[in-house]
């Protein structure tokens, strides 16, 4: 059981939200898999920010425009409205100040797309409920004291944050443990219980 059985399952879900030829900033772009997918499928004009130098070097070797940087400190250097889409995939929970990062995304991009593991998934709840300890699994291998994921949230938590920063949810997609999109008409409590990952399309 895990909250994160395939952490990159969200890539295609994100790609489906982005129109052709868009200008895209991917914050926390890792080895550039999503940017490359978007370049090949959607012919986007893409840029990336990645904290690990190894990831950056892989991106540059792939021919992507990526800089080494930290979402918490470096987004301030991007002008308002400089991108059509500002993406943050599977990175929100590792930032020191998720609210500030979200606000920057909404400022830099006309749209923001955020994907994250849902800490409200039933497997997390049962792990905590029955074992009384923070969940540690094959796919979420960190102990509470060494995890880079310092700000986990649930889907409902995130909806509340969007409300607080004045972001409009244009679209939300939850992905279940089998990597399948869950129906759109489900109520939030259902997604919050069965959605393993969530992808939100937002705008100011």
């Amino acid at each position: 059981m895990s909250v994160n059985s395939n952490p990159r399952i969200d890539l295609q879900v994100v790609a489906d939200l982005i129109p052709d030829n868009a200008k895209v900033l991917d914050v926390g772009c890792s080895d550039g898999e999503l940017l490359e997918l978007l370049r090949n499928q959607k012919n986007i004009d893409g840029r990336g920010v990645e904290i690990s130098q190894r990831g950056v070097n892989e991106c540059v070797a792939r021919g992507l425009s990526v800089i080494q940087g930290d979402a918490d400190t470096d987004l301030v250097y991007y002008p308002d409205n400089s991108f059509d889409y500002a993406l943050l995939s599977q990175t929100l929970q590792a930032t020191r100040n998720p609210r500030a990062v979200l606000e920057h995304l909404l400022r830099i991009g006309e749209h923001a797309i955020v994907s994250f593991p849902n800490f409200g998934h039933w497997s997390v709840r049962t792990s905590l409920f029955f074992n009384g300890r923070m969940p540690v699994t094959k796919d979420l291998p960190y102990s509470w004291y060494d995890t880079p994921n310092i700000h986990f949230c649930t889907i409902r938590d995130f909806v509340v944050l969007c409300d607080e920063v004045g972001a409009k949810v244009e679209k939300a997609v939850a992905i279940n443990a089998n990597g399948q999109k869950m129906g759109f008409s489900m109520p939030w409590w259902f997604w919050n219980f069965f959605g393993q990952q969530a992808v939100f399309l937002l705008r100011r």
């Binding site: 540059v60 070797a61 021919g63 800089i67």
Partner: protein, 390 residues
């Protein structure tokens, strides 16, 4: 003595009649210097490698560092050594001369064939010495643009350089934004830091304190300020290395001896190494050129040229950038590159930024660094695709 005299005359010849190709501009085509004066006539020495394609879209310009030269991928006529960037440039190399037309000019102010203080001043028939106006990075780039014009090239596919060469790369993208498709500035910055000015000033003072410098008129006097220039090189060379690399390479090891001599001999290997660096340098470089080029670096400040707004220097740029820094470089630390990257981001330029982990210091850009080569290779390949160079 004969060998020294021969080396000296050969060097004087290289300043006026280089072994490389040379393009001469007459009085009708002056170089207008930032100092507010015209330099005419003047000449620019250069080497080329590979063939310019039919639509003139495959040209790569290489900008050399302070003591570099045009012999980037061919034997240096003064030292007899291989080209200084042959690890990167040549047939089948990352900058493949079977695909690209590589232009490698010697900068104005240098001493290998482009007009500099060792060149003959046509007004006097004697070497310019300090009568040459102060040269800036922008002056070097403007002269290079005249060379590029000579080939009928509108847009360079890529401009590449490290250190002072990186400054020229940045100046190219700022002064001629439409003429640079992609740019690779390495181990550089948009300005010289106070610390860099300080080190170079110490070096210049060492040159000028040498009694043989003679107010810059040493060539006419038939002498050379070798000791001063050697000290300047020793000082600068320390800044090109890192403490870790120095310790790894030399430690406190003694040079050809078992114990300290209780004298000022070069007991330590590092002393012997630095003395060797200084001595070999004076055989290939002109002291006044060293003054002029180090001054050009000191004066470089792109933000100051744009009312303190660095991003304004890259306004509306379409150039694709790949900025490279090295973790152990304290001459141009990564923070300098980061400031550049932030400015490029603010101006919306497509920019990549790679910091290479190495303990080899500033000079790492000249060395065989696999991670550096994979980044450069990826960047150049994708730029070539975007430019339609199959």
């Amino acid at each position: 003595m004969m060998a020294v005299a021969r080396a000296k005359s050969r060097k004087a010849d290289e300043a006026n009649n280089p072994s490389s190709q040379v393009l001469r501009f007459g009085a009708d085509k002056p170089l207008i210097l930032e100092a507010g004066v015209k330099l005419a006539p003047f000449q620019i020495a250069y080497e080329t490698y590979g063939e310019l394609n039919a639509d003139k879209s495959n040209a790569v310009l290489i900008c050399h560092a302070l003591t570099g030269d045009q012999y980037v991928a061919s034997t240096n006529p003064v030292t007899g050594k291989p080209g200084w960037w042959e690890v990167l440039i040549g047939p089948g190399k990352i900058i493949d001369t079977n695909r690209f037309f590589v232009i490698s000019p010697n900068v104005i102010g240098s001493c290998l064939g482009s007009t500099g203080p060792a060149s003959t001043n046509p007004a006097t028939g004697k070497p310019y010495g300090l009568d040459l106006p102060i040269i800036t990075i922008r002056d070097m780039v403007r002269a290079q643009a005249m060379l590029v014009d000579h080939f009928g090239i509108d847009q360079l596919f890529c401009v590449i350089g490290g250190s002072m060469g990186g400054m020229q790369v940045l100046e190219w993208t700022s002064t001629y934004p439409d003429r640079v498709f992609s740019a690779l500035p390495m181990a550089t910055g948009t300005r010289h830091s106070a610390q860099n000015i300080a080190f170079y000033e110490a070096g210049r003072q060492a040159v000028m304190a040498d009694p043989n410098w003679r107010g810059g008129k040493y060539i006419e006097a038939g002498v050379r300020p070798e000791k001063g220039l050697a000290v300047a090189r020793m000082i600068a060379h320390i800044t090109y290395l890192s403490e870790v690399a120095l310790h790894r390479k030399f430690g406190r090891n003694l040079q050809d001896r078992q114990k300290l001599t209780f004298s000022f001999d070069a007991d330590f290997q590092i002393e012997s190494y630095l003395r060797h660096q200084g001595m070999t340098f004076v055989d290939r470089f002109d002291a006044n050129s060293y003054l002029y080029l180090s001054r050009a670096m000191d004066y470089f400040d792109m933000a100051a040229d744009h009312d303190g707004q660095l991003a304004a220097a890259f306004k509306n740029t379409k150039t694709r950038f790949c900025v490279v820094s090295f973790t152990s470089d304290w001459h141009f630390p990564t923070e300098e590159s980061r400031a550049l990257v932030h400015a490029l981001n603010a101006s919306g330029a497509p920019v990549s930024f790679v910091e290479i982990e190495t303990d080899r210091g500033h000079d790492a850009f000249l060395l065989d660094e696999p991670e550096l080569f994979s980044a450069i290779g990826g960047f150049v390949a994708s730029a070539a695709r975007a430019k339609g160079l199959a």
